[in-house]
Symmetry: C2
Subunit: 144 residues, 2 copies
DNA sequence: TGTTATAATGATAATGAAAATCAAAATCAC
DNA sequence: GTGATTTTGATTTTCATTATCATTATAACA
């Protein structure tokens, strides 16, 4: 399997928390790992349900929450109010460039910006933990 | 009045949109302008209702939306899902430093970061419009 | 200053996302 | 296998925001 590491992380997390394995949790994890897009809970639910028709909506919510807790997943709350989820494991930290016309987005990192962000936090007496940065604009395609 | 400019902006906006003035809109605007905090709709409603007890919840929602449209107000969606509103007029663009313990936050700007953000957007073929940046960490007080 | 067309209001219902509830089913240590 | 405990899925609840709609207010104009 290509996702051995991720599966291990999830299993370990379940164990340390005294939680149990289940077909549903495994199914949601598999779908999540197999799709490298920023899915919403609803999209995840629809796809996972194909392989396991009895799957419930609530279970997807519960599982995605566990994935976030164990560090495999990051929740992104966009300005339009929707939440989407992206892979965290094996993906370095990054920020987003988002097209305001078509919604397309790109993952970006600028080490210099990262450095300056750290500096700024410390300058204000903050011990930095994490950050989010989204740049909104119009992409090449939409500008034409 | 100290808020002449802001009131003018709002009135002009209403006119260009073919909308009407009203006591309620004026009341919500006044409260919004008089409090330099990041209020939620609910907080705004409670305060404005004191001066105009017949004020309805929906009107506050509608008015705050107009304030955002005319550039007096900016909506901030925080990670906890709540929306809060901050003054935009006469306040330069800024980002936020947010304490993950106590929720306190500070407005910050780093011109160098701003410049690098522009550069990064352009580097990816984006015509930058705006951005949001939030740095999360633990503030001095909470760290002790 | 009326008249009148149009927009705004406020009470309430509708919506939609996320969380809570709970009986039945699944898991796993023994 | 047994039994304590957790998970599940269907459903309800919650809560923020929007939509609806009859009534009221606004403002251009006679």
């Amino acid at each position: 399997m290509t996702n051995d590491n991720e599966e291990k992380i999830f299993e370990d997390y379940l164990e340390t928390q005294g939680l149990k394995h289940s077909r549903q949790r495994k199914g949601v994890l598999d779908v999540f790992l197999s799709i490298d897009k920023h899915l919403s809970v609803d999209e995840l639910y629809r796809i996972a349900k194909k392989k396991n028709p009895s799957l419930g909506y609530a279970t997807v919510y519960r599982t995605i929450k566990l994935l976030c807790e164990c560090g495999l997943c990051r929740e992104l709350r966009f300005e339009d109010g929707t939440s989407r989820y992206e892979h965290l494991y094996g993906h370095r930290h990054h920020d987003h460039l988002i097209c305001t016309k078509c919604g397309r987005f790109v993952e970006v990192v600028d080490p210099e910006i990262e450095r300056l962000q750290e500096r700024m936090a410390k300058l204000h007496g903050f011990y930095p933990e994490r950050h989010r940065m989204e740049l909104y604009g119009i992409c090449k395609r939409c500008k034409k």
